[in-house]
Every structure is written in structure tokens, then in C-alpha cells.
């Protein structure tokens, strides 16, 4: 097989720090954080009471401007629609051969409403919830959006926990590289829900304080939500040159302390890209004690000497969208020439010697970036992006 080139032709992005690539990139460079008190539901009883929420009013307006009935869609479907529309607008005439999207929970709020109606023995509420729960599965926000945008293509949903977005981009990379597809629309999305918020809180993975990736005093993650989508083909301003994935079977929710899983994924990505020199690393960097320790070990073991940042202090951990949103950040960093900052960084962790790009964005000439995503179930995935 002769590998074809793979490139990100255009992108759409939505998160707590902005709607659209332009606003998002500007706010990323300004060091703006999207984290604030949770307003979508009552987090009473949780250690963590903050999250990086996408503004519902702005989201609804953005969705309605594309397709007026979308103002009544689920929030995840609105996020997918807005991000997809922006990506497709950047590539006029783009008709995908396949659509590959990563997500961890689909339209979970509709599933929660269905459960609630049944638990309350609310007969009319159950009937309404039954009609809406049809839109709960992860593929439905994507199918709804594709119908509106006029993109008939097979849909694959990848759900590999927090690595989903990167895995989806990796699957797209494999299809275009092999010639099995010429154009793929790929990305990731996730929206906040009570179930998932409670889940991370009960594991004590979420922090009651600020999210401080790689900081010596870090105490956990803050959840976020959003979406990022890409038109992927053979030509574009940023090339997708490598992808690697590996499974760490140490534990369902905890990485092996040696960082062997992340290391295997990074090495596989580097190998597939011809081992380029890496100018910037967008880390998974959730700010949990374990993840950042393992990832630091893995980056050092991979002999990658590049500035590292985690953008999750700005956007929150967007789960299935994280890999896609962070690929969008890498794309912006490469094309606009800057290092995205790690917010809330106070005290270097003496257990590693990584160069952390801290607190403020700074100009940098970057030709290549590596983006990491690691998740429950031992999912580990890495992408390499390069300027042509």
C-alpha cells in the first residue's frame, strides 16, 4: 500500500472559551479560562462544583442561525451542528465518504430525563421522554446534523472514553492514508451531564480547587464540554502525519504508574510519522495526580524535548471532545505560531523535568506538534500534526 498524504483542510470548534476557531484561538492566546460554577444542574453533595460550560443561550442562537428548529435540539446535537457547520464552511464542496466522531456519552441528558420520568411514574412525562430518548444514543446528534448540512455519509461513533476524539481522528487518518476514503469528516463532542459529573466526582478525580495541570500542588480535573470537527483529505494547511494507539491493561480507571501505555502510543505515532522533530506537545494533562505523573514519565522516556502544555485548565476536560478540540488548538498553534499556555501553573513538580509552557501564551515558530489523549479502559492515543 502506498500511503497517501493526510491533511486537516478546515476545522470547527466550540468550547467554554469560544464559539468558532477564531474566537477560541483568540481566547486561548489571552489565557482566558472557561471554568465557573456549574449552572446546568445542581452539583450539591459533590466535592467539585465547577465546570467549563458552553453558554446555552449563545449555543442555542448559533444552532438556530444554521437551522431554526435546532434551537430545540439537545445541547450535544447543537454543539455538533455548530462545529460541523464551521468545518464544512471552510471546505466548500466537501462531501465526506465517511464521518467518524468520538464521544463518551452522547445526549446523556435525554437518557437522564427518561430515567427520571419513569422513576417518578409520570405517565405523560414518560411518553414525552420516550419520544426524546430516541435522540439519546451517541450517533443521533451526528445523524441529525448531517441531515441538516446535506452530508449523506456512513457514520461511525468511537467511544474510547477520554481518548475518543483522538481515536476518531486516527481512524480517519487510517482511511485516507490507505486510500479507502478520500474525504472524511471527523472530530469529537461531549456535553456535561449529571451522571458523568457525579462519576468523576465520586472517584475523586475532580478537584474542588483550580485545575492545575503538571503543578506540584495539582488536585484533579475540572470537566468541560464542547465539540471540534475537521474536514480531512489529502491537502490542507496542516498535515496529519502520524497516529498511534495502545491499550494499558493495568486497571480500568488508573494508568500503569510507569506510563507504559502513553509511551507506547507516542512511540507508535512517532514511528508512523517517520520520527519527526516535535516542537510542541499538547498533553492530555488532566491535572490528576496519576495522569500527569505517568504522562511526564512517558514524555521523558520518549525523549521528546519540547515545550509542553495542557489546555484543560482553560477548557476543562471535554472527554470525548478533548482529543479533537486539542487537535484544533495544535492546528492553531502551528498556523499562528504560538505556544498555548497551561493556566494556573504555580509550582513546578520536581518529579519531572518537562518544560511547561505556563500561564501566558508566547510566540513560537512551530512546525510540528504532538497531541496526547488517554482514557478509562487504558485507552491511549497520540496524533502528530505538521506544517507542510
Amino acid at each position: 500500500m502506498i500511503p497517501r498524504p493526510v491533511a486537516l483542510a478546515s476545522a470547527g470548534c466550540l468550547s467554554a472559551i469560544g464559539t468558532g476557531m477564531r474566537e477560541t484561538t483568540q481566547n486561548l492566546r489571552k489565557g482566558i479560562s472557561g471554568v465557573g460554577p456549574v449552572t446546568l444542574f445542581d452539583p450539591a453533595g459533590c466535592r467539585c462544583t465547577t465546570a467549563a460550560e458552553v453558554g446555552s443561550v449563545a449555543l442555542r442562537q448559533a444552532a438556530r442561525s444554521i437551522h431554526p428548529p435546532a434551537g430545540r435540539w439537545s445541547r450535544p446535537a447543537q454543539m455538533v451542528l455548530v462545529a460541523m457547520a464551521e468545518a464544512l464552511a471552510g471546505s466548500p464542496g466537501f462531501v465526506p465518504d465517511a464521518v467518524i466522531i468520538g464521544t463518551t456519552s452522547g445526549a446523556m441528558d435525554l437518557g437522564e430525563k427518561f430515567f427520571s420520568a419513569v422513576a417518578r411514574r409520570d405517565v405523560s412525562g414518560t411518553a414525552s421522554a420516550v419520544r426524546r430518548v430516541a435522540y439519546y444514543p451517541p450517533q443521533m446528534p451526528v445523524i441529525q446534523s448531517l441531515e441538516v448540512l446535506g452530508c449523506p455519509a456512513p457514520v461511525r461513533i468511537v467511544s474510547n472514553a477520554c481518548a475518543s476524539g483522538t481515536n476518531a481522528l486516527g481512524m480517519a487518518w487510517q482511511l485516507v492514508r490507505s486510500g479507502r476514503a478520500r474525504r472524511v469528516l471527523a472530530g469529537g463532542y461531549d456535553a456535561l451531564s449529571r451522571l458523568v459529573f457525579s462519576g468523576f466526582d465520586c472517584l475523586q478525580a475532580s478537584t474542588p480547587e483550580l485545575c492545575r495541570p503538571f503543578d506540584a500542588g495539582r488536585s484533579g480535573l475540572v470537566l468541560g464540554e464542547g465539540a471540534a470537527m475537521f474536514c480531512i483529505t489529502q491537502e490542507g494547511p496542516v498535515r496529519l502525519t502520524g497516529y498511534g494507539a495502545a491499550t494499558d491493561t493495568h486497571h480500568l480507571t488508573q494508568p500503569h504508574p510507569s506510563g507504559s501505555g502513553p509511551l507506547a502510543a507516542m512511540r507508535a505515532a512517532m514511528g508512523s510519522a517517520g520520527s519527526p522533530h516535535i516542537d510542541y506537545i499538547n498533553a492530555h494533562g488532566t491535572a490528576t495526580t496519576q495522569n500527569d505523573a505517568c504522562e511526564s514519565l512517558a514524555i521523558e522516556a520518549a525523549c521528546l524535548h519540547a515545550p509542553v502544555s495542557s489546555t484543560k485548565a482553560a477548557t476543562g476536560h471535554t472527554l470525548g471532545a478533548a482529543g479533537a478540540i486539542e487537535a484544533a488548538f495544535c492546528m492553531a498553534a502551528l498556523t499562528d505560531g504560538f505556544l498555548p499556555p497551561t493556566l494556573n501553573y504555580r509550582s513546578p513538580d520536581p518529579s519531572h523535568s518537562l518544560e511547561i509552557a505556563a500561564n501566558e501564551a508566547r510566540p513560537a515558530v512551530l512546525r510540528s506538534a504532538l497531541s496526547n489523549s488517554f482514557g478509562f479502559g487504558g485507552s491511549n492515543a497520540s496524533l502528530i500534526l505538521e506544517l507542510p
Partner: protein, 327 residues
């Protein structure tokens, strides 16, 4: 490229493996929302060999079904092959039992009442992780979620990987589990039965697994595979199935047998017959299980097109050539 099916596994309401003769599963009735809804469950003991695995001690049935079927599909394989064997796991509803158990106290008493023991098993990719751990694989384990066509869609994804030269072999596992809430949703949407007398299929559960590879094997050969854009209406659904069949028909004089798995899709009769060898409807599980049962047994099969159209209009299809006689 030739892609062969080397091994299969099946856990169903009939028990473990295929073929299974003379088994008549009886529906189990669950009370929910004032209704008594039927489901066909995997019999107790069908996964006894994996139930005692320490890593599965907190897992739900979904993971046990999946691990058991996976182990059967790779039985006899070289451990060196297993260490680098990619896994693709497909499901429609995921770990719905653990999810409802986890959410119940949150709904009743607030967000601070989640159980850290239950939450990890609610994630869609928990079974894939357990499969990889059981097999000793550190290669990529991918979980795909979709409607009733997710089983064959996962086979298509595996064939893409193999044909790209990414891996010489891939294990595909599809599984689904029964839950009263899922029974209610499917029955209210006219996809599954709300009583034993209903003409609709009863919701069922289980796992199917196929090991695919480039080395010539004793079972069927996958000649072609395809997925189509989701169908959005009854008329579109029929034409999707026809178009899928046309894209997969071989350029040979003999026309294949065509079977379609299209549960509860738009209320119209499917243009092709359905495999009736397994009882009930288990969505992603049933989708892949039809492949296992059609190539199972000792009699060579005729050329076969397997088509799948799910309740959200997603669709996939395979063309299988005649199976070689079992040595």
C-alpha cells in the same frame, strides 16, 4: 485482499456456542412503569468460565458475555498473536444495567451520591478493556457504538484495518445486555415486544465474536464490505438496503443468498428475509451473531450477502464466499 474468518464465539439466550439444538428459551418478565415486559436472557452459568476472573468481579453481564465470546473466538491462538491483536468492540446500549444502577441514587438524592464502584463499568469501552486484558493484548482496542447495524459495521472497520496493512488480524466482538429501562424504550418505540404475544421480537442479550485475518482459515472468506449513509425515511430505508445489496453483489453468474437484519425499521417489510436461527433482538449483538450462525455448522454455505439496517438508519453489509468444509 482476502480476509478470512478464523474463529467465532457466541453467548446467547440459547447458551454458549453454536449450533445449539433443542433449546427453547423462555422470556423473563420485568416490571417497570406498571408494565410486565418480556426479555430473553442468557442462561445462568453460560459464562461460568469467565465469571471468576478477578478483573470482572465488579463487571456487569455485558463484559462477561463479551469476554466469553472473545475467548472462544481466539481459542488455540498463539499468545504472541494475541499480545498485538487489535480489538473492535461494538455495542448499541453499552453497560445499561450499571448505568441505571449508578444513576438511581443520583436521581433520588443528588449528584453527590454516585458509587465509585459502579461508575467505571458504565463507560462504553469497559468491555473492550476487559477483553484486551484477558487476551493480554496491548494493541488498539476500539469501541464503536451504533444502532442495530453496529455489529456488521465493526466488521467493516476491521476489514478496513486489515486491508490497509495496519494489522494482519483483528478480533471483532459485539454485545448488548437487557435492562428493564431498555425494554421499555424499545417496546414503546415499536422495535421490541411489549408482551409474549406481540409479533415483534423480544429484546435479548448476548455477545458474538469473530476473529478475522489474512491467513487462509477454515471458515468463511469476506470478499467485500460496505457501509452506507443513514436512511432517514421508510422509502430511503428500502432503497438503502437495495443499494447496499447492489454494491456487494458479485460479478458471478450464481447469485448469493441475501439476508437482512432490519429490526423495527420504519414498519415496512424488508425486501430480504431475515436469519431466524437465533431468538429475539439484541441489536449490535444480533447483528454480528447472524454472521456467526450462518457460517456455523459443518455444511458449506452458499455465497451470502449479509445486510444490516438499524433503527436509526445506519447500515452495513458483507459478502461472504462459500465456506470450506470443516476438516
Amino acid at each position: 485482499m482476502n480476509i478470512f474468518i478464523h474463529g467465532t464465539g457466541l453467548v446467547s439466550a440459547l447458551g454458549r456456542g453454536w449450533p445449539l439444538e433443542g433449546v427453547e428459551p423462555q422470556p423473563v418478565f420485568e416490571e417497570i412503569a406498571g408494565l410486565r415486559l418480556p426479555s430473553l436472557r442468557v442462561p445462568t452459568g453460560a459464562t461460568a468460565d469467565v465469571d471468576g476472573i478477578p478483573r470482572l468481579r465488579r463487571s456487569g453481564d455485558l463484559s462477561r458475555f463479551a469476554v466469553a465470546a472473545a475467548c472462544d473466538a481466539v481459542a488455540g491462538c498463539d499468545p504472541a498473536l494475541l499480545a498485538g491483536l487489535p480489538v473492535i468492540f461494538a455495542t448499541t446500549d453499552g453497560g445499561v444495567c450499571h448505568t441505571t444502577r449508578f444513576f438511581a441514587p443520583i436521581e433520588a438524592s443528588g449528584c453527590g451520591n454516585g458509587s465509585p464502584i459502579l461508575f467505571p463499568e458504565t463507560v462504553y469501552n469497559a468491555p473492550a478493556s476487559h477483553i484486551a486484558a484477558r487476551l493480554g493484548s496491548h494493541a488498539e482496542a476500539t469501541t464503536m457504538v451504533g444502532d442495530s447495524s453496529a455489529g456488521l459495521a465493526a466488521v467493516c472497520a476491521a476489514c478496513d484495518l486489515i486491508s490497509a496493512g495496519t494489522a494482519p488480524a483483528v478480533l471483532v466482538v459485539a454485545a448488548n445486555e437487557c435492562d428493564p429501562l431498555a425494554c421499555l424504550a424499545y417496546s414503546r418505540r415499536g422495535i421490541c415486544a411489549d408482551s409474549a404475544a406481540s409479533p415483534l421480537p423480544i429484546l435479548t442479550e448476548g455477545a458474538a465474536a469473530v476473529l478475522l485475518g489474512t491467513e487462509p482459515g477454515p471458515a468463511a472468506r469476506v470478499e467485500a464490505w460496505s457501509e452506507g449513509p443513514p436512511a432517514s425515511s421508510p422509502q430511503a430505508a428500502l432503497s438503502v438496503l437495495e443499494r447496499l445489496a447492489d454494491s456487494l453483489r458479485p460479478a458471478r453468474a450464481e447469485q448469493p443468498v441475501i439476508l437482512a437484519h432490519a429490526p423495527g425499521v420504519f414498519g415496512l417489510p424488508a425486501p430480504f428475509p431475515t436469519s431466524k436461527k437465533l431468538p429475539g433482538e439484541g441489536h449490535a449483538f444480533t447483528d454480528l451473531a447472524q454472521l456467526v450462525v450462518e457460517i456455523g455448522g459443518d455444511t458449506p454455505i452458499p455465497d451470502l450477502l449479509l445486510l444490516s439496517l438499524g433503527f436509526h438508519g445506519q447500515n452495513a453489509g458483507l459478502r461472504l464466499t462459500q465456506r470450506y468444509a470443516t476438516p
